[in-house]
């Protein structure tokens, strides 16, 4: 009997240690969530136009904007939108003028790569993307064609794409925005376009065109919201909100509404 008591005592101490460690884990590691609650607003920076993630249309503002509205509703704060003209236009990220003071979340085409992780802490991914072709009619082969390439700010592997296109011996024209790509395709100046997959899908849906992902040799990436490194409490709250949105089917419904068919999203 004495041995049993002794064993229970020893295991009790170990249990106490484990409980203490778990309790310590509940301490908030930073003030990001508390600060957001104090101001009552979730500040988001995003490019002015990056369909279907950001469209600029108040009735159909884009996937990212709609998701973030749902997230801020769940958290119980206002969504403060800060459209940023420089995003995507300038290759020097410092010129975008985005600071921790003017936004807590970066949206509109951030993918989870090692480079992105050097700047930001990616939130959970809600969709996947990669490079895709968009054209008026289906094609079997792109060799020797004239292709409009729109890279925007997607952070996808541009070097990989460039190698792939060179191997296909195509003529490349750099596009500066989606309208230029649409015009080029509609006028017949371009045979096909290559851009980020969700944008390609959106253009195909809007214009009744055709689009398909480029082959597997070009990687697929997870689409994320960017948070500042170290803003862990805010990240946890956003993860919780996104999990709730996924469980309620709201996330899937938003993605389908923007013509993201058979999208693989997971939190």
């Amino acid at each position: 009997m004495k041995r049993v008591y002794r064993l229970a005592g020893e295991l009790g101490v170990l249990g106490l240690v484990i409980v203490l460690m778990l309790l310590v884990g509940l301490v908030p590691p930073d003030t990001s969530l508390a600060e957001m609650r104090k101001t009552g607003a979730l500040k988001v920076c995003f490019p002015t136009n990056y369909p279907p993630l950001v469209t600029g249309d108040p009735n159909q503002p884009g996937i990212d904007i709609e998701i973030l509205f749902a997230v801020s509703d769940y958290i119980g704060v206002e969504l403060m939108l800060s459209p940023n003209d420089a995003m995507g236009r300038d290759f020097n990220l410092l010129n975008w003028g985005i600071t921790r003071g003017n936004c807590q979340v970066l949206a509109g085409g951030f993918v989870d790569t090692e480079i992105t992780r050097s700047f930001l802490d990616p939130g959970p991914h809600y969709a996947q993307t990669g490079w895709a072709i968009v054209g008026i009619d289906p094609l079997d082969n792109i060799e020797d064609l004239t292709i409009g390439v729109l890279t925007n700010i997607s952070g996808l592997d541009r070097i990989g794409l460039s190698k792939y296109l060179r191997s296909k011996n195509v003529k490349v024209r750099i596009m500066h925005n989606s309208q230029e790509l649409i015009d080029g395709l509609a006028s017949g100046e371009l045979d096909v376009g290559v851009t980020e997959a969700l944008l390609a899908g959106w253009l195909a849906l809007e214009n009744d065109w055709w689009s398909t992902l480029l082959p597997d040799e070009l990687a697929q990436y997870n689409l994320v919201f960017g948070l500042w490194k170290g803003d862990l409490t805010l990240k946890r709250e956003i993860v919780k909100a996104l999990q709730k949105l996924e469980a309620d089917g709201i996330l899937g419904e938003i993605l389908l509404r923007y013509g993201v068919p058979n999208i693989r999203y997971s939190l």
């Binding site: 509940l26 590691p29 010129n95 992780r117």
Partner: protein, 277 residues
Amino acid sequence: MKGSGIERSVLMVQLGGLYGLWLREVKRAFRDRGQLIGGISRPILWVVILGIGLNPYFRGEVFGKVNFVVPFTYLQFIFPAVIALNILFTSVQSAVSVIWDREFGFLREVLVSPLSRGTILLGKVLGGATVAVMHGSLVLLLAKFADVNLTWIKVLEALGLMSMLAFALTSLGVVIANHIRSFQGFGIFSNAVILPLYFTSSSVFPLDPALSQAQTRVVYPEWLVTMVEWNPLTYAIDALRGALIGFNQFDPRLGILIMGISGIVLFALALFEFRRA
């Protein structure tokens, strides 16, 4: 037939003795509240206090500007190093039992038993290593706090690496204990080994893997880079980082190789000195 029966019984005696010594070390550690407090206070201080305290200095303030050249947060970066720290302290300190046993006569009694010196030492080292792995595992309870996503595979991989590290470091502790005859001397000397080993193992600051050898020597003084690169613990922590947060500064196989070789060499050295003592 008779010979093989005797061999089997000799083997059973050795295994029974090994188990007994291992269990004694584990039970003693469980009953030592001071050790347990040390096991939880280190991760709390290092992960919670240091992690939160340094967080603002390592987070981004301007998009496009990188202060900390690692694709993880500071908390995630130091998390595997704190596991190694807990193992390091517990492993080396567990060897104090060698002095204890020598001082109070237990070692003399064990040495006259039919157990070989190798079995006695292995029992002690395995016991110390088991306790060290348990203390390292306590840090895993803070994974959620440090935003480290654990999966069963990651945990198993980490436990394997932690066991190798704990075995090598407990053997190191025994090597130290073989040379030091007093508790006080062991405490001071082991700290003089533990802390420099830890701080020069890229535990609290990274050697940027994107930089070449020459560039690294521009960012940090050459003597420091050399110390980090020559420290075997650097590769153990790097392997743990690879397993837990998917970030490696060196080839991850190097960590396993170095820990394996260190374990064998240090155990052989400990055994050589244990036999001579």
